[in-house]
C-alpha cells in the first residue's frame, strides 16, 4: 500500500478524543461526543445518514467526504437533503499531511470542497494540516547538491481567505487548524464536549472563545494578503485573474470574473491513449475545480475558468463523457454549478490578433499529439501567452463572446 497521510490524520483525531475523554472522565462525566472515523475511503464515502462522512451539494450530488467527525447520538435531519439520521454532526474534519511530501500549492485548494457544504448546514468544520511543513524533494533542477533539498510549505493564503469568507457567509465556522498544534484541536473538542454536557452561558462562551482564537489566527495570517488581493492581479502578471472582464457588448461584466489556466483537456482525463500514464500524470480537474470554487467564494462573483488551450471539441468530449470517472465527476460539479463556467479559445474574441490565437491552437495540438507534458520551450511560451491574454483582456484588446 502506498504512503498516505490519512492514517496519521485519523489517528491524530483518535488521540484527541482519548485525551478529551480522559479529561472529562476526571471531572466525573462521560464524554458525550463520539468519533466517526474509518480507516478506508469506502466508509468516508458513505452518506452521513448511512453512517458515513459525506454530505450532498444543494443539487443533491455527492460532495467531497471528510476524514472524521465528532457527533452526538441525537436525531438529526439534514436541512438540505432532508434525510434523517440518528447522529448529529458537531465538528467535521478534513485533514492532510500532504505538504510534508511536497503536495503544496494548488493541491491544497482541493480540500475546500470537502467542507464546502457544511456551514450551510450549521455544522462546524476544519481543515487539519500543518500551518508550516518542511518538504524534501529533488534539488537537481535548482542546481542544488545532494543529499537534501528542503522547502517550506505553508497554508495557502487564498485557501484561508476562502474559509474565512465561507464562515462569514453562513455564520458558521469553517476553520484551518494547525496539525502540529494538537492542543488547539483538543481545546476545541473539549469545549464542544462540555457544551454538550450542559449548554449554559459559560460553556457557550468557552466554545466561542476557542472558535475566536482559531479564526483570529487565520485572519492574522492573511491580513496583508487580503489587503493586496484585488490589487495584486491588476498590478502583476500573476495570479492570472481578470477582475474586469470585457464581454461581447464591450462592457465589463458585473457578475463574472475569470481565471486563466494553461491545462489542456487531459486535466479531466481526456487522453488519446498514446501515453498510458497520461491520465494519471495530468489529472488536474480537482485543482481546476478547487481554484474556481475558491475564487467564487472569496469574491462572491461568478467565475469563468478560461482555458485557452481548449477548443469547443474538447468541451464536447467531456460533455460526451470521454473523461475518466474522477475527471467527469469534477467536470459535472463544475458545469452544474451556476456560478462557475468554462471558456475555451472559441469563446474568446481575439480581435485582430490572429498570432495569439494561432499560438494557442498550435500548442494545444502539440500537447494532444504528444499525450504528455509540453516540451520545455512550448511550456515557457505558453506561460507568456497566458500572461499576454490576461493583459489583453484587462485592456479590452480581447473580449469574451458572451
Amino acid at each position: 500500500m502506498a504512503f498516505g497521510s490519512d492514517y496519521r490524520v485519523k489517528y491524530l483525531m483518535r488521540d484527541v478524543q482519548r485525551i478529551v475523554t480522559e479529561r472529562i472522565n476526571k471531572e466525573g462525566f462521560e464524554n458525550p461526543l463520539r468519533l466517526r472515523v474509518f480507516d478506508e475511503d469506502a466508509g468516508d464515502n458513505m452518506m452521513w445518514d448511512k453512517g458515513g462522512l459525506t454530505f450532498t451539494t444543494s443539487d443533491g450530488e455527492k460532495a467531497g467526504s471528510g476524514d472524521g467527525a465528532w457527533y452526538v447520538e441525537e436525531a438529526w435531519t439534514d436541512p438540505i437533503s432532508k434525510k434523517k439520521s440518528k447522529s448529529t454532526p458537531i465538528l467535521v474534519i478534513e485533514g492532510t499531511f500532504g505538504t510534508e511530501t511536497g503536495n503544496v500549492g494548488d493541491a491544497q485548494k482541493t480540500k475546500l470542497s470537502h467542507i464546502f457544504e457544511l456551514p450551510k448546514r450549521k455544522i462546524l468544520s476544519a481543515i487539519l494540516m500543518p500551518k508550516l511543513a518542511e518538504y524534501y524533494t529533488s534539488g537537481k533542477n535548482k542546481k542544488k547538491s545532494p543529499p537534501t533539498f528542503v522547502q517550506n510549505g505553508w497554508w495557502m493564503k487564498s485557501l484561508v481567505m476562502a474559509s474565512i469568507s465561507l464562515s462569514n457567509q453562513w455564520k458558521c465556522e469553517t476553520m484551518l487548524i494547525d496539525a502540529y498544534n494538537k492542543k488547539q484541536l483538543e481545546a476545541l473538542v473539549y469545549a464542544l464536549a462540555k457544551q454538550q454536557l450542559e449548554n449554559n452561558n459559560k460553556n457557550k462562551e468557552y466554545v466561542e472563545k476557542q472558535l475566536d482564537e482559531i479564526m483570529c489566527e487565520m485572519s492574522l495570517y492573511v491580513e496583508q494578503y487580503a489587503k493586496d488581493f484585488y490589487f495584486k492581479s491588476r498590478r502583476s502578471d500573476y495570479p492570472l485573474i481578470i477582475f474586469d472582464l470585457p464581454m461581447k457588448n464591450g462592457n465589463v461584466s458585473s457578475k463574472w470574473i475569470g481565471k486563466i489556466h494553461s491545462d489542456d483537456v487531459k486535466a479531466f482525463g481526456v487522453t488519446t491513449g498514446k501515453n498510458p500514464k497520461a491520465k494519471q500524470r495530468h489529472r488536474n480537474g480537482h485543482r481546476l475545480l478547487g481554484n474556481a470554487q475558491e475564487l467564487n467564494q472569496i469574491t462572491g462573483k461568478n467565475v469563468f475558468l478560461i482555458l485557452p488551450r481548449w477548443n469547443k471539441t474538447d468541451l464536447k468530449k467531456l460533455n460526451d463523457n470521454h473523461g475518466d470517472s474522477q475527471g467527469q465527476k469534477e467536470f459535472i460539479n463544475l458545469i452544474q454549478n451556476k456560478e462557475l463556467d468554462i471558456l475555451t479559445m472559441d469563446d474568446i474574441d481575439f480581435g485582430g490578433d490572429k498570432v495569439l490565437q494561432k499560438e494557442f491552437k498550435r500548442i494545444r495540438k502539440v500537447g494532444i499529439d504528444l499525450d504528455a507534458k509540453l516540451p520545455e520551450n512550448d511550456s515557457d511560451k505558453l506561460k507568456e501567452l497566458c500572461v499576454e491574454l490576461k493583459w489583453g483582456l484587462y485592456k479590452k484588446k480581447y473580449k469574451i463572446k458572451r
Partner: protein, 377 residues
C-alpha cells in the same frame, strides 16, 4: 513463467486468515473473550502485525495502530538524483514561530512510554467480521468496553476488522509476505520509500549483509520488518547471524485481491531495481513473467519466485548505499530525542531535520551501531 494452477478454493475471510496465520507461522489458536476463535502471538509478532497489517492495539479506548507512523523517507536517493525525501514519523516535528524543530516521534521508544503494555506479554488478535461499514473508532470503543465488562484487560488485545468483501485484505497479504520473507532472511517493509510518481510498491524485501551485523550487535533477533530495528531498546535479541556472504538484492511484491498487478509489476521491471517481482495472492490465475505468492487448499504458502529480472547494476549499487543510510535512522530510533540532538543537531542556524540527515549519512554504519549501543546502556 509461473505454471498455471487451478484456481484456489480459498476465500480470504476471517476463518481462512486465522488458518493461514496458524499453519504458516505457528501462531496459537485461542478463544477471544467472547468465545470466538482468535490468534495469540508474542508482543514482537503483534507489533509486526500492527505495523504491517494496520490492526490497532486496544491500548486506549480508540485503538492505536503502528502502521504508517514510523516513516523516515518517502523517496530514496537512488531514484531521485541522489536526494533523499525525508518525512516526519519515526522522528516527530513541532513548529515554533516560523521554524520547524525535531520532536518526540512515533518510535517504539516513545510508544513504550505512552503505552507501556504494548511491547510486553502475549497479545490476542480478535477478528471482527463486519457486516456493514461501521465507524472504526466506534467499533474499537465498543470492544474496549465489552472486554472490560468480561473482566479482561483490553491492553492485551488487538482488533482486526475483516470486511465481508475482498476489500481491505491487501495489508493482510503484505503481512503474510513479510513473515515469509523474514524467515527467508530478508528485511521487509510495506511503506516503501519511492516518490509517488514512480509507482510505490506494496511490499519490498531486502537481502543485505547488514542483517548479520545487526544480529551480532543484538539490534535484531533475526531478519525482520525494518521498523523493528528501532525496538532493540525494548526487546532483547539473542539471534545468531548466518555468517554467509550476502549480496544486496531487492524483491518487490504487489498485493492484489481483485485485479491483477501486471501493470505495476511492469513499471517495476522497467525501473530495474528488483531482482524478483511477484504478485501476492491475487485471483490465483496463471501469471506471466512474474512470481506469485499464494496459498494451497490447506492454507499453506506456496511461493514461486518466477524468473530473475535484469537489474540496473549502477542503480542497485546506489540503492545499497541509500539502504545503509536508511537503516542507520532506524538504529537511531532506539534513542530519546535529547540524545539524538546532542550528537547530530548542534547548529542553531541550519534546519534540525537537515542537520540530522546529513550527519547521519556521514557517520559509518559501524560507528552508528557503536554509538546507539553505547547510548542504550
Amino acid at each position: 513463467m509461473v505454471s498455471s494452477d487451478k484456481k484456489s478454493k480459498i476465500k480470504l475471510d476471517k476463518d481462512s486468515m486465522i488458518e493461514i496465520l496458524h499453519k504458516n507461522f505457528g501462531f496459537k489458536k485461542v478463544k477471544d473473550p467472547f468465545g470466538n476463535q482468535a490468534i495469540q502471538m508474542s508482543a514482537r509478532d503483534a507489533f509486526r502485525f500492527s505495523l504491517i497489517e494496520g490492526t490497532p492495539y486496544l491500548a486506549q479506548e480508540y485503538g492505536y495502530t503502528c502502521k504508517e507512523q514510523m516513516r523516515v523517507f518517502y523517496g530514496r536517493s537512488s531514484l531521485n538524483d541522489g536526494f533523499v525525501y525525508y518525512t516526519p514519523g519515526l522522528f516527530g516535528v513541532k513548529r515554533i514561530g516560523d521554524k520547524i524543530h525535531l520532536d518526540e516521534g512515533n518510535s517504539p521508544y516513545y510508544l513504550n512510554k505512552k503505552f507501556p503494555s504494548m511491547f510486553h506479554g502475549n497479545k490476542t488478535i480478535i477478528f471482527y467480521e463486519e457486516t456493514t461499514l461501521e465507524s472504526k473508532a466506534e467499533v474499537e470503543r465498543n470492544f474496549h468496553k465489552k472486554i472490560k465488562e468480561k473482566k479482561k484487560n483490553p491492553l492485551e488485545y488487538l482488533l482486526s476488522t475483516v470486511s465481508k468483501s475482498n476489500s481491505r485484505k491487501e495489508s493482510f497479504l503484505e503481512f503474510v509476505a513479510s513473515q515469509y520473507f523474514n524467515k527467508e532472511g530478508y528485511l521487509t517493509e510495506n511503506q516503501v520509500p519511492y516518490a509517488n510518481n514512480q509507482g510505490v510498491p506494496d511490499f519490498a524485501a531486502y537481502k543485505t549483509p547488514l542483517i548479520d551485523k545487526l544480529i551480532d550487535k543484538k539490534f535484531i533477533e533475526s531478519a525482520c520488518p525494518i521498523s523493528e530495528i528501532s525496538t532493540a531498546c525494548i526487546f532483547s535479541n539473542k539471534g545468531k547471524s548466518s555468517n554467509k556472504k550476502i549480496n544486496y538484492g531487492v524483491v518487490i511484491g504487489e498485493a492484489k485481491t481483485n485485479a491483477n498487478a501486471t501493470k505495476q509489476l511492469c513499471t517495476h521491471k522497467d525501473l530495474g531495481l528488483a531482482s524478483y517481482l511477484f504478485e501476492i495472492f491475487a485471483n490465483q490465475k496463471k501469471q506471466t513473467d512474474f512470481g506469485l505468492l499464494k496459498f494451497n487448499d490447506d492454507y499453506m504458502i506456496n511461493y514461486d519466485a518466477g524468473p530473475s529480472q535484469s537489474t540496473d547494476k549502477t542503480l542497485l549499487k546506489n540503492d545499497e548505499k541509500f539502504f545503509e543510510h536508511y537503516i542507520k535512522f532506524y538504529l537511531l530510533g532506539n534513542l530519546p530525542l535529547e540524545k539524538i540532538k546532542e550528537k547530530f543537531v548542534t547548529s542553531k542556524q541550519e534546519r534540525e531535520s537537515e542537520q540530522l540527515i546529513k550527519r547521519v549519512m556521514k557517520i559509518s554504519f559501524k560507528n552508528m551501531m557503536d554509538f546507539v549501543e553505547q547510548e542504550m546502556k
